[in-house]
């Protein structure tokens, strides 16, 4: 324990348990994420991966256990305060505002004017426009700023949602299946993107695509039935007989 405390962890999850009517979707789950780390969570369907993200970002409340983000306990906070402390979350299906333009999508995510009065008084000034342009450049959408978001391709929608998180400059970025439904070329671009944006932040990714996982992961956590099955580098995890049996073997 003391060894772990000495390291600088961005996120510490300890003994996390959530039970839905007696069914423990996540059961006494612990893991630790370091600064500037890309951590990938893999595991078979129903292992509780998405539920872990739900618990961290406050969408689901934990039955037991602690989630500390930079020393602050997240389990008692409501969703928007968790975002304010610096946690950003991308959903499994691209969750963007299809009726608004790409520019407006990013602008809404810009972390200013988050109260009612603030939103009424919000001005689209130079700083906002610059920030939006910067992010659009990063997520390969600089040419689509005035396009209605609903018209983007599936891969572009995924990037847009990542951009909407980046513009908030979170310290911890959680991505649920960011390359699902993407072409091979788009996956490569996304892997580059993720490697570029880890400066000064940690990233947690849930993904099934093993090639993609190998490309980005610093460390991998394998979940099974709500618990950690194995943890470590991709090589180690790949050769762990338990992992091969429940997940990779199939």
């Amino acid at each position: 324990m003391t060894a772990k405390m000495q390291k600088n962890f961005v996120l510490e999850v300890e003994g996390l348990t959530v039970s839905f009517d007696g069914f423990k979707a996540v059961n006494d789950f612990s893991f630790y994420v370091e600064e500037e780390e890309i951590r990938v969570i893999i595991g078979p369907n129903g292992a509780g991966k998405t539920t872990v993200l739900d618990l961290i970002c406050g969408k689901t409340k934990a039955t037991e256990g602690a989630i500390r983000f930079r020393g602050r306990d997240l389990t008692k906070m409501n969703e928007h305060t968790i975002v304010h402390t610096g946690v950003g979350r991308k959903f499994q299906n691209p969750s963007i505002y299809e009726d608004l333009t790409v520019f407006e999508n990013l602008e809404i995510s810009y972390p200013k004017g988050r109260s009612v009065i603030g939103a009424l008084a919000f001005k689209r000034n130079k700083k906002v426009i610059e920030a939006v342009n910067d992010i659009a450049e990063t997520i390969f959408l600089a040419d689509c700023l005035d396009k209605t978001a609903g018209l983007l391709s599936h891969g572009q929608k995924q990037w847009l949602e990542i951009g909407m998180l980046l513009i908030q400059n979170p310290d911890l970025l959680m991505l649920d299946e960011p390359v699902a439904g993407m072409s091979v070329a788009e996956r490569k671009q996304t892997a580059d993107l993720l490697n570029r944006i880890t400066k000064g932040r940690a990233v947690i990714v849930i993904e099934h695509d093993m090639q993609f996982v190998e490309d980005i992961a610093h460390r991998v956590t394998v979940m099974h039935q709500g618990k950690t099955l194995s943890e470590g580098s991709m090589d180690r995890v790949k050769n762990d007989p338990k992992v091969v049996e429940v997940y990779l073997g199939h």
Partner: protein
């Protein structure tokens, strides 16, 4: 305010919509109608306040309230209480067993003015109450519902229940509220007789000006980041929440704005029609108000005004000849609008009329330029 921000607030085509509506309300109607018809239009326009509120709350925010009549009624009753007290001075009520209180209280054996009527002797208090009573009530409903994430159909049903409860309360407490008849026989406002023709003209214009103030406020909200946030919330509430916004606060705010608009409409209704009764509070009028908004187009504040005028005009003409059929016609209208034109009149205008107008405008411009000898380069091939 820079030119840039003015343009953002009021794009060119919006300015045209504002001017057209202003022309219609302030010039065309008053010049083409006698005072009886104009007063009717004034009455219809009081519902337009509600419809504009519904555009913001339902069209933008996705919060369908089937109880806007509650706020319309509260605003109307506040105004009616003031007017009633003014017309119940001891001099003109000396035949009552207790002079100086409203006549319906006397009929119900009430001998003292109830405490909550007292402050309505003051005109400034009344004006404040018209805005604040409905807003605070909406705030309480909003906090109770939205903080608990009650929304959608459940919210609609609850607002409908509230409308029903308030009607029953008003009818049941006859001695304090005038019961099913409402508050009637209202004559003067600060000594000014509101039943003369000239007063009706003035009230019509006051109503029009207030409507435009509400339209401008709505335009401001629509064009602000809050307007875009409402659209975003309607689509992806979770995404907005996990972008760091407290979604419930925005819902409460827009619900209160809609309530305040409705209340202004209600107060102007009382002034122009001369009475207020529970028949403008309950479920049926509340749903009618939603239909006005749907017919006009629930994403257009201008469409809401035209929709209100059109449906009410149809109601008056139709129910003069077939009173019992009107409700069926209304239901059919609502269903057909929702099925065939989900964005209402405004949607029809946007997809059919506006492209044609723009085409005609460019054609005329081109023709005019040609006649003056300055031929635009591309004109030869298109004409």
């Amino acid at each position: 305010m820079s030119i840039q921000s003015i343009r953002e607030f009021m794009p060119k085509n919006n300015l045209v919509y504002f001017l057209c509506l202003a022309l219609l309300i302030f010039v065309v109607f008053p010049l083409s109608m006698d005072i009886f018809r104009l007063n009717l239009i004034g009455k219809y326009l009081t519902y337009a306040f509600v419809a504009i509120g519904l555009v913001l709350c339902w069209g933008y925010g996705g919060i369908l309230s089937l109880g806007q009549g509650v706020f319309f009624g509260l605003g109307g009753y506040c105004m009616a209480m003031f007017l009633k007290l003014e017309s119940s001075d001891p001099e003109s009520t000396k035949i009552q067993s207790t002079p100086g209180i409203p006549d319906f209280m006397d009929w119900n054996q009430i001998t003292e003015l109830p405490w909550f009527w007292e402050p309505f002797y003051s005109f400034p208090f009344t004006l404040l109450a018209i805005l604040l009573v409905p807003s605070i009530f909406a705030y309480i409903i909003g906090v109770a519902m939205f903080k608990r994430r009650v929304g959608g159909v459940y919210f609609a049903i609850i607002t409908q229940a509230i409308a029903s409860i308030l009607t029953i309360l008003i009818i049941g407490q006859q001695g304090y509220t005038g019961g099913v008849n409402g508050i009637t026989d209202l004559r003067t406002l600060l000594g000014w007789n509101i039943r003369t023709d000239s007063a009706k003209y003035i009230l019509y214009f006051v109503n029009g000006v207030l409507l435009f103030i509400c339209l401008l406020v709505a335009q401001f909200i629509r064009k602000s980041k809050l307007g875009r946030l409402l659209l975003a919330m309607r689509e992806r509430e979770d995404r907005v929440r996990f972008s760091g916004y407290d979604v419930s606060n925005f819902k409460i705010f827009i619900f209160c704005v809609a309530a305040a608009f409705s209340a202004i409409g209600g107060a102007m209704f009382t002034l122009q029609v001369g009475f207020m009764s529970p028949s403008f509070v309950g479920i049926v009028p509340s749903i009618e108000m939603v239909i006005f908004c749907a017919v006009g187009g629930r994403l257009s504040i201008f469409g809401a005004v035209y929709g209100t005028l059109l449906v009410n005009w149809a109601k008056t003409t139709f129910s003069e000849s077939f009173p019992e059929l009107w409700l069926f016609a209304m239901g059919a209208l609502f269903i057909s609008v929702v099925m065939a034109f989900p964005s209402g009149l405004a949607g029809l205008y946007k997809s059919k009329v506006e492209p044609w107008l723009i085409q005609t405008y460019t054609n005329i411009k081109r023709y005019y330029l040609e006649r003056n000898g300055t031929r635009p380069a591309e004109s030869g091939e298109t004409l």
